[in-house]
Symmetry: C2
Subunit: 85 residues, 2 copies
């Protein structure tokens, strides 16, 4: 494993400031933050009465749902490759 | 596209109740909710001073990060398939 230096990136998500510390590049962290911000705004526009806490949880629910779908597609592709061999 | 009936699933995430309405099965919604709940508890145990709102946002950040990594792996696999053809 690479021993990459830690970076600290300040981002704004849904009007709040976060300092994200990790080994990922600043540009990667900014992309991730902008996806979360965008998703929160999208869900909020459809459910304007949601408080920020529920909104953030439902955003996480939404993203996990998409993650699972992608994971299923990934497994199908893996199967396709192993059948070709 | 299939015109699937809407389901309403009540789930508990990090001690709060949510009614999730959608075309996914109740069991799928429960799996998704339990992943979010687990992730929130994991992040909270490492950062006990976080309020629930920031915790939920950081959970979403974490999941988007994992989504992007999986997406990159998916694209590598797709490339591998197209090179085999």
């Amino acid at each position: 494993m690479l021993n990459r230096p830690k970076t600290k990136t300040n981002v704004d998500i849904y009007g709040q400031q976060y300092s994200i510390i990790g080994t990922e590049s600043t540009s990667h962290v900014r992309v991730v933050a902008s996806i979360v911000d965008e998703k929160m705004r999208e869900i909020s526009s459809k459910n304007p009465s949601l408080d920020i806490n529920k909104l953030a949880v439902l955003t996480a629910v939404n993203i996990v749902h998409e993650y699972i779908k992608l994971k299923e597609d990934y497994e199908k592709l893996e199967k396709q490759i192993s059948e070709k061999d």
